[in-house]
């Protein structure tokens, strides 16, 4: 893979945990590569798998979904629903020629700014290694 490729990533993050962690990472000036952009959701439980697919088809090379740690969900159990949906989504992605690694689910609590920054940077590096998404150019949706 040439080094020319700069991936674009999207993250669906929950307002109460990961978005707050992203704010903290920002306030603490934890440098992150500029390839990832956030979509604020109220809960990962409202992340419909079609949002992830939409992002992948519209030009995102990787999608991060991140919410509260198990047991900490502001809405009791939304993150567990997200876990099930992303798991199922991961099952079908390869059928469309999309690598499983392109969709990642993490738990990042509100106080874990450093964890957020590290996750973002690592994920961007992983997708850069993975290269551009071949499936998008061939998709007939």
């Amino acid at each position: 893979m040439s080094n020319e490729f700069e991936p674009t990533l999207l993250a669906f993050v929950c307002n109460w945990c990961t978005y707050t962690a992203a704010d903290l990472a920002g306030t603490s000036r934890m440098v992150q590569q500029p390839n990832l952009r956030l979509v604020r959701m109220m809960c990962t439980g409202m992340v419909d798998p079609k949002y992830v697919i939409k992002a992948l088809l519209s030009g995102a090379d990787g999608v991060l979904v991140s919410g509260c740690h198990p047991g900490d969900c502001h809405y009791i159990n939304g993150n567990f629903k997200a876990r099930r949906r992303i798991k199922l989504l991961n099952e079908i992605l390869p059928q469309f020629g999309i690598e499983r690694e392109r969709v990642k689910l993490t738990w990042i609590g509100a106080s874990e700014g450093n964890e957020f920054a590290a996750t973002v940077n690592n994920f961007i590096n992983e997708i850069r290694e993975l290269g551009p998404m071949e499936a998008r150019s061939m998709a007939v949706i």
Binding site: L10, A25, R29, Q32, V39, M46, D48, H74, I76, K81
Partner: protein, 663 residues
């Protein structure tokens, strides 16, 4: 009617402008669809900044507003209110964050500017799909629940009760006072802890507005801000509180003993017990796990003795339900058990004490009647006090427990005072942190009393010839030291209570990385939580000394009172809505809803949202196979627009030339 969007890009002084070419972003936004006005300004949150928005809404007839500045968690409400003042529905505003998620974390100006353009474009795309929404106002129930009866819970309860509002104070141990009731003296004034806390404890018991429930625990919380329903489990005390006079005759005769938790395991207590003679309430409690009458139906002595017939061995746990407007959590802290730190020999050597144990040794109603003596009854000739046991330690807790330096100094003084000024006292410290009012002065006073301070954390404690030898290093002298002493006190860390995760789950608050409850904002919201109507007080938010805990508790009380006094609270309209024309009645959502807010209308065969119960979590919208369930303000159309905007194509040439302009 065509949409008219106004875009406002904030410089935030140099916070954003330092990395992002704000003018360039505003110029770029001007070219986006439906944007009629686009400006950049130094401080959008300032009055002139807000006035700019208001003026433009009136002049240009703006129907949508995008503000690109800091995090919406900080200023979204500011700009929503500005829109509302200009007569625009506040939900027609979208707040884009180009500071925390862009300028502050990106090193190259060109990259930061491009990213900011994407973020602004996403907000412009998204805001086009926004709809007018209207907040609901609900009544706030006037009563407040305070959970935890330590000094913070007591302070919060008294503050609220003084205003005339009713307080339900729940405490899980048999009497209130918390850790402060165990202390002997308090730093730096050497006030007797009981002398300053018992007046408050008595005030709680005599306050008609406080419903004190000891030996009780909160089992379940449901509802929302202003309208919480709390179920409290009243554990069986086996003594009728209404009849008992607290005469204490039963305490004399009970033949069964167990280790005293209040005395930190240094002495025994009876199966029927109360923590101290000054306990509030002074009704004893029977420990059902050891009482011979309850476990084996043998004995029954206390019942025979009790002059009022208050003892009832057949008492069962009961449950009471309360309806309150807000909740103050004052569940306090636990001290770390130093047993795992085998190098310090706690539990192995008799004369190694934790700080709380030493506190009880000092206390006039403690196991030794206030005498500082060793297990053999003799006074120690030398004592080592080890700071930071479990605090500031990568293996246990990274944080500083804030109180240990000061109580160690207090012990220094008390040992010199009670045992004699010829007693040698050694402090093994890392740094002395004496930051409070009168603290540094107290440190100086103790130094002048002839206490030895050795800078360095000891590596281990061994026993040689009947003495404990503290082996460590004096980092100021760069020398190894071996200090033989008679007694060692470990200043153990303050840590989150063991049942913190369970309590956090019940009340819907989060825990921070240190295990303590997470406040809304570390600086500007230290008493509120992410859950509206649930406030924090005292050391459950983080380690605190008494003055800090009391001040924090008054803050929590003020927040709860603000809600109660206003009597009304506005509820966010960002709830779910199920389109009756699309819903096929599959009932998937009714089972997914964590709040049972979705009912099935049998006649129309569709699901219907009960807006009063819906919190807008989106569990239904995330799954609805027909797309009928949508969260207002986070609907499919808005999210799709946002994704399109974020992944839009920014002309590279534009970004590069602007970066050169800046450079």
């Amino acid at each position: 009617m065509a949409k008219k969007i106004g875009v406002y890009v904030c410089h935030c002084g140099s916070n954003i402008q330092g990395r992002v070419n704000c003018k360039g972003v505003a110029d770029y936004a001007r070219g986006l669809k439906d944007v009629v006005v686009s400006r950049d300004y130094q401080f959008m949150c300032s009055d002139p900044g807000q006035d700019m928005i208001i003026k433009d809404i009136r002049e240009y007839g703006l129907s949508r507003v995008v503000v690109a500045s800091c995090s919406p968690r900080l200023h979204e409400k500011t700009f929503q209110k500005a829109c509302a003042r200009a007569g625009l529905n506040p939900y027609l505003m979208q707040h884009a964050c180009i500071r925390e998620h862009c300028s502050w974390i990106t090193t190259k100006p060109a990259e930061a500017t491009a990213k900011a353009m994407h973020i602004v474009e996403a907000a412009v795309e998204r805001v086009g799909g926004h709809q007018e929404l209207f907040s609901r106002e609900v009544d706030v129930l006037p009563d407040v629940m305070v959970v935890g009866g330590g000094i913070a819970g007591i302070q919060a309860s008294l503050d609220i009760a003084k205003s005339g509002h009713k307080v339900h104070l729940v405490e899980k141990s048999p009497s209130i006072g918390g850790h402060m009731a165990q202390f002997d003296k308090t730093f730096p004034t050497l006030d007797c802890a009981a002398c300053i806390s018992t007046p408050k404890m008595v005030a709680v018991s005599q306050e008609p507005n406080i419903n004190l429930m000891t030996w009780s625990e909160v089992e379940d919380v449901s509802g929302f801000v202003g309208n919480y329903t709390v179920t409290v489990k009243r554990k069986a005390r086996f003594i009728n509180e209404d009849i008992c006079t607290g005469c204490g005759a039963c305490l004399e005769k009970c033949p069964t003993t167990a280790l005293s938790e209040f005395n930190e395991g240094l002495s025994m207590r009876k199966a029927i017990f109360r923590n101290s003679p000054q306990a509030v309430p002074n009704t004893p409690v029977i420990d059902g796990s050891v009482c011979k009458k309850i476990t084996k139906d043998k004995c029954g002595l206390c019942q025979k003795i009790c002059p009022t017939g208050a003892i009832d061995y057949h008492m069962k746990d009961t449950r009471e339900v309360f309806h309150v407007g807000s909740i103050v959590l004052a569940t306090g802290y636990a001290t770390m058990d130093p047993t795992p730190m085998a190098e310090y020999g706690f539990g192995k050597y008799d004369e190694v004490y934790t700080a709380l144990q030493f506190e009880r040794l000092n206390n006039a109603v403690g196991p030794t009647g206030g005498q500082i003596v060793m297990k053999n009854g003799q006074s120690p000739e030398s004592v080592a006090i080890i700071h930071c046991v479990g605090s500031r330690d990568q293996n246990y807790h990274e944080y500083c427990s804030r109180t240990c330096c000061m109580y160690a100094l207090k012990y220094d003084h008390l040992i010199k005072d009670k045992v004699g000024h010829d007693t040698k006292v050694y402090n093994f410290y890392i740094d002395m942190r004496c930051f409070g009012k009168g603290y540094e002065e107290f440190f100086k006073r103790v130094q002048e009393e002839g206490v030895t301070f050795i800078r360095g954390r000891p590596s281990e404690i061994v026993q040689e010839n009947g003495k404990l030898v503290v082996i460590g290093e004096d980092t100021l002298l760069s020398m190894n030291v071996r200090v033989p002493v008679d007694m060692v006190i470990l200043c153990t860390a303050m840590q989150a209570q063991d049942d913190m995760p369970e309590v956090a789950r019940i009340f819907g608050v989060a825990q921070g990385q240190d295990g303590f409850f997470l406040e809304e904002h570390p600086k500007l919201g230290p008493v509120s939580t992410a859950t509206d109507g649930v406030f924090l007080a005292g050391a459950c938010q983080g380690p605190k000394d008494i003055p800090d805990a009391v001040a924090h508790a008054s803050g929590g009380a003020a927040q709860a009172l603000a809600l109660a006094a206003r009597g009304k609270v506005s509820i966010s309209p960002t709830t779910s809505w199920i389109n009756p024309d699309i819903c096929v009645g599959c009932k998937v959502c009714t089972k997914l809803c964590p709040y049972s807010a979705i009912e099935f209308d049998e006649r129309r065969q569709i699901a219907v949202i009960n807006e009063a119960m819906c919190k807008g979590c989106g569990s239904c919208a995330g799954y609805c196979p027909s797309g009928a369930a949508q969260i207002k303000h986070f609907n499919e159309n808005q999210i799709f627009n946002e994704i399109d905007g974020l992944l839009g194509m920014i002309p590279d040439i534009l970004v590069e030339t602007q970066a050169e302009d800046q450079a």
